[in-house]
């Protein structure tokens, strides 16, 4: 027998709810676990769009974008601690239609990221095996199905696994970095000969702007830490701490990854390879490093896909719980306490796209939904501070320099939309058209099934201006 949850306000007492079992380390593992795969593949497509130096410039500037995301997110999430993360924030601060869209951004961003991870894992194994005719489909299917089963069985086990494999993958980057004597040039690393004044920015500054698209991939998904809001023991402490620690971890990993990879391979190759760090391991000439980076690539892909299934399912679950989608999706497993129907529903969708999309297409789908979400976040924090000024409600964390991070985030989102236009414009228009049409469906049809006042579950006073 399964139990279907009613809206969050009624999730009390004897009703089956998500378990509060996670600490800051799990939050770190969820955030970094999802994102770290970006160092193993994806970020390097920024070199394709603008050259090796452009990939470094966007690593820093997009790092600024994500620092703004982490600061804003930490404040709002430590205050709106509910499953669905940004979805719950939108529901309480902007309104139901925005919440519906934000949940779709999350589901698409994470599901397509999961697809990218599975493709990477399958392609990496096929490349390592070197057997003619070996297809990646069976590896992709096994990855997605096994991880969905793991998520079905319980969040604590899922994130414990993530913590271990993320840590191993991260340590492998550090080992690679120190193994190539980063303090000397010429022995192993040859940055001066590979990134020259003539090829550093092959497309000029327009290439730097274009590179923003895949620069997002260095960090995309760190905001996923908020999805665990209903399952952490102390949201006000764990979420800001885990998210900020995750961001610092990723900034260090991104800088080390760029330095080693740009010093070991020409930008034209760096821009198209699916496995820059594994290739870097090979080019050092050390079989130990080559094998270590091969295993780390697989582990990073597994950790990311694992976290993505966790996050996408919780966003979908929240939509069902609030009746934005049929309530059938809001069931919690009576034994494992996981949103199992949402996990199972998204499984075939991920499988289907893993078989029909290629890696950079899947990544672009994910990035598009991510940037739409960040645009929302920049406006959301302004509205949050306006409707509930400081002192009017208890905040777990208050981010400094407001509204500067919001303005920086918004401006960088505009630049990233332009970057996506430079090469992937049709895809962007097609996806926004989809979101627009599904919004019309929600606003004029589906919303009739939604309870009005019951959506607002936080114990806050009436927002100012209403």
């Amino acid at each position: 027998m399964t139990v279907t949850l009613e809206p969050a306000v009624q999730v009390q007492g004897d009703r089956v709810s998500l378990l509060r079992v996670l600490g800051p380390a799990h939050v770190w593992a969820l955030g970094v676990g999802i994102v770290l795969v970006g160092e193993f593949t994806g970020w390097n497509f920024a070199a394709d769009k603008g050259g090796a130096l452009a990939a470094l410039i966007v690593c820093w500037i997009v790092g600024l974008l994500y620092t703004s995301v982490a600061m804003i997110d930490s404040e709002v999430t430590s205050t709106v601690a509910a499953a669905g993360g940004q979805y719950a924030q939108a529901k309480h601060i902007v309104g139901p239609l925005m919440a519906f869209n934000v949940a779709l951004f999350l589901v698409f961003a994470y599901t397509m990221l999961e697809v990218s991870d599975a493709i990477l894992l399958g392609d990496t194994i096929v490349a390592k095996a070197g057997v003619e005719g070996l297809n990646h489909n069976s590896f992709i299917a096994a990855t997605i199905v096994v991880l969905a089963w793991l998520n079905y069985r319980g969040v604590l086990m899922t994130l414990n696994v993530n913590f271990v494999i993320t840590a191993i993958a991260y340590v492998s980057i550090v080992i690679l970095f120190f193994s190539v004597s980063p303090w000397t040039q010429g022995a192993v690393l040859k940055l001066n000969e590979l990134v020259t004044p003539g090829n550093a920015l092959p497309y000029g500054w327009i290439g730097v702007i274009a590179a923003f698209q895949f620069g997002i991939w260095y960090y995309l998904g760190i905001e996923g830490t908020t999805q665990a809001a209903e399952e952490v023991r102390s949201p006000a402490r764990s979420l800001p701490y885990g998210t900020m620690a995750g961001m610092i971890t990723l900034l260090i990993a991104a800088a080390m990854t760029w330095y080693v990879c740009a010093s070991l391979m020409p930008w034209e190759y760096l821009g198209i390879t699916y496995y820059p760090l594994w290739d870097a391991g090979k080019l050092t000439g050390s079989p130990l490093l080559e094998n270590l980076l091969f295993i780390a690539t697989l582990l990073a892909a597994l950790a990311s896909a694992n976290g993505c299934i966790n996050d996408a399912a919780r966003a979908w679950f929240s939509l069902g719980r609030d009746r934005y989608l049929p309530t059938w999706f809001s069931a919690v497993h009576p034994k494992y306490r996981t949103p199992y129907r949402s996990i199972l529903f998204l499984l075939p969708i991920a499988l289907a796209f893993a078989f029909i999309a290629d890696l950079n297409q899947a990544i672009t789908f994910s990035i598009l939904s991510g940037v739409l979400q960040y645009t929302f976040m920049s406006i959301n924090i302004i509205m949050f501070r306006k409707k509930w000024p400081l002192g009017s409600i208890r905040r777990g964390y208050t981010h400094p320099f407001h509204p500067l991070p919001a303005i920086v985030l918004f401006c960088l989102c505009v630049v990233t939309f332009f970057a996506i236009f430079l090469g992937f414009g049709s895809q962007l228009i097609a996806m926004v058209a989809f979101y627009f049409l599904i919004s019309l469906w929600f606003h004029f049809y589906r919303y009739r099934f939604v309870r009005r006042g019951a959506q607002f579950t936080m114990p806050w006073p009436k927002p100012q201006g209403y």
Binding site: L97, E193, P266, W328, D358, Q361, F365, V450
Partner: protein, 125 residues
């Protein structure tokens, strides 16, 4: 304000709505792939002379390409496959209009719904 009581949705209605969402997801993600709208807009600037020098590769770069198993002939299509960043202003304007229109609709429609939520939530007290 009177409390809004939503209608109960039948099982058939729920199944239909799930089908709508699934179809919408596949159309949004699969159609661009099928129509060839997804993916990078790149093209190969072919060279007659396929040497490392002609491809702009210095001896260090050439040695790395060779270590990776490439010759000037096999590396040609990778090195010369380039983006051509020409700003197509009509498409850019359409993209900007679609994006701005989408966000304006989202915020305005959300605000209308939000006022109902707030009125019902706080006027009951």
């Amino acid at each position: 304000m009177a409390r809004y009581t939503p209608p109960e949705q039948s099982k058939a209605g729920q199944v239909f709505d799930i089908a709508v969402v699934v179809v919408a997801i596949f159309v949004a993600l699969w159609l661009p792939l099928k129509l060839g709208l997804a993916g990078a807009a790149k093209s190969i600037d072919a060279l007659d002379a396929k040497t490392w020098e002609a491809l702009g590769q210095n001896p260090t770069m050439a040695s790395i390409w060779e270590k990776l198993g490439y010759t000037p002939e096999t590396a040609h299509d990778i090195i010369q496959n380039r983006f051509h960043y020409i700003i197509d202003w009509p498409t850019l304007i359409i993209m900007a209009a679609v994006l701005i229109g989408y966000f304006i609709f989202l915020f305005r429609a959300s605000d209308r719904e939000y006022r109902d939520v707030i009125n019902e939530k706080f006027d009951d007290k």
